[in-house]
């Protein structure tokens, strides 16, 4: 019943959702010369900078697998999370002028941001695959399981987006706080280093981070050419569903009060 309601609602507002996403695309690329090419160039360039810094300056390496492929596979997924959650956080506040005048279901704003960055994310898979081939890492049949990790990543990000956008309405300081949190999060997630580099006790702590598991799931397939452990499958789904559920509950409970905090 609850699910049926959501589906009917989504259908009703799907055109608005589509318009909001296409608006974001148009606005993002309208005044840049290279336009949508930036979606491909940006991750490559970030990867290049990080690779130079971490493999040359810090002598970072990942035994057995190519460091560039290792870096980029983690980077595209974490970039999705950090960009989407950031945009989703400010989406409700940014659309106050609309919320204040017309009834629109408010969840549509964080949702549209997560989907918009999601489409961008799919574009960044192109440079990832180029790097996979260029570095001789190659592909395998297990790549068909990757969407599972991506869907988990999406649900987790959407849940975070709901929580953050609701909290930031009441507490504008959240924009600054989250900037720091995401920076910390970037370094605490094994993106540019191997988790085996840190002590065993700390590893347990690092594994409480859901982002590690989504990235790990993808890396097992992409870099090590094997099916992820059943445990990894469960942690991915469990953590993302839990966060999404918390997000939905927080958002629903608070959304009627948004209007007083304009």
């Amino acid at each position: 019943m609850f699910l049926k309601n959501i589906m009917a609602n989504l259908k009703k507002y799907s055109f608005l959702l589509q318009q909001l996403i296409s608006r974001d695309f148009k606005v993002k690329y309208k005044r840049s010369v290279l336009g949508v090419l930036w979606s491909l160039l940006y991750p490559i360039l970030t990867m290049a900078v990080m690779a130079i810094v971490f493999s040359n300056v810090f002598k970072m390496s990942t035994p057995g697998v190519n460091y560039l492929a290792y870096l980029l596979s983690g980077l595209v997924m974490f970039n999705y999370f950090s960009e989407a959650s950031n945009l989703a956080m400010s989406s409700v506040v940014a659309n106050f002028s609309l919320i204040n005048k017309i009834y629109i279901p408010k969840y549509i704003f964080p949702l549209s941001k997560c989907l918009f960055v999601g489409i961008n994310f799919l574009l960044t898979l192109i440079p990832l695959y180029i790097v996979l081939f260029a570095t001789g890492t190659g592909v395998n049949i297990y790549h068909l399981m990757l969407p599972y990790a991506f869907i988990c990543l999406f649900m987790f990000t959407l849940g975070m987006g709901f929580i953050l956008s609701a909290v930031s309405v009441f507490l504008r300081d959240m924009f600054y706080i989250y900037g720091i949190i995401i920076m910390l999060w970037t370094y605490l997630t094994p993106i540019m280093y191997d988790i085996k580099l840190i002590s065993v006790e700390l590893q347990t702590l690092f594994k409480l981070n859901p982002m590690y598991h989504y990235i790990n799931f993808a890396r097992e397939i992409i870099l090590y050419h094997r099916i992820p452990q059943p445990f990894t499958w469960m942690v991915c789904l469990g953590s993302s569903l839990a966060v999404l559920l918390i997000g939905v509950v927080v958002f629903r409970k608070t959304q009627d009060k948004f209007i007083y905090y304009v």
Partner: protein
């Protein structure tokens, strides 16, 4: 059609001050006695009335009397603190036109975006696209970003999009002064044709002239309560006299 039942609406005036992190922490350590009392403000107090299909209701009252709040509650933008509002029929809210515009997008793109915001379907917008453009008289500017539009042009486009539907309920908050004289007349005619077509209209204006001209019934709001309700002429005159004192 619309039923407003004992609706009250409370605002916390102190909210803005209380919600920065710094003050939040300071307040944590303050004893309860020292805490500043949250100032509450009742924008609407126990308001009840009913609107039948096809009626044109005018709302009058001084600034801050709760007129716009009333319309927002009916439009579903705000939920009343106490009481209930029942609305049967689709609402077209013309509260501040063009809220859904993105200045970076062209007029053509904005027609679709704003239409979607107002809840129109894709097919509907496609079929009505030319009608919207013709009514706004902005065909030559279709591919110009709205940020380059004059305020009059923006308002014309917004009005044309908002009124393309035949809504069952139309909410109008001071918009008949849109664009130049020619367009003002055109928009007034459009409003009239909608009213004649049986649309229920809720209308807020400070121009008693306008209210007398188009409304069949008037509600006078004063400090959040209904002071008077009934015949347009009588309500407007009573309100005018109270203001002149």
């Amino acid at each position: 059609m619309i039923k407003v039942d004992n609706v009250s609406m409370k605002f916390n005036l102190g909210i803005e001050k209380n919600f920065s992190l710094k003050l939040f922490f300071i307040n944590l350590f303050k004893s309860k006695k020292n805490k500043p009392k949250k100032e509450t403000f009742w924008a609407l107090k126990d308001v009840s009335f009913e609107v039948k299909k096809g009626e044109v209701i005018g709302f009058v009252g001084s600034n801050g009397a709760g007129k716009s709040t009333m319309l927002k509650v009916i439009a579903g933008v705000m939920k009343p603190t106490i009481g209930k509002v029942t609305v049967n029929g689709n609402i077209c809210p013309m509260i501040e036109l063009g809220a859904g515009f993105d200045p970076e997008l062209t007029a053509r793109e904005n027609i679709y975006l704003n239409g979607a915001v107002l809840g129109y379907s894709k097919e509907f917008l496609k079929s009505k696209f030319n009608e919207i453009v013709d009514f706004s008289e902005l065909r030559d500017f279709l591919d110009v970003p709205v940020r380059n539009f004059s305020s009059g042009m923006t308002a014309r486009l917004a009005f044309s999009i908002a009124t393309i539907v035949d809504p069952e309920i139309l909410i109008v908050d001071e918009i008949l002064s849109v664009g130049d004289i020619a367009f003002q007349q055109k928009s007034e005619e459009k409003m009239k044709s909608m009213i004649n077509g049986g649309t229920t209209v809720l209308f807020v204006s400070h121009s008693l002239e306008q209210i007398k001209k188009i409304c069949t019934k008037a509600v006078w709001l004063d400090h959040g309560t209904v002071k008077m309700i009934g015949n347009t002429e009588e309500v407007c005159n009573a309100y005018y006299e109270s203001q002149m004192k």
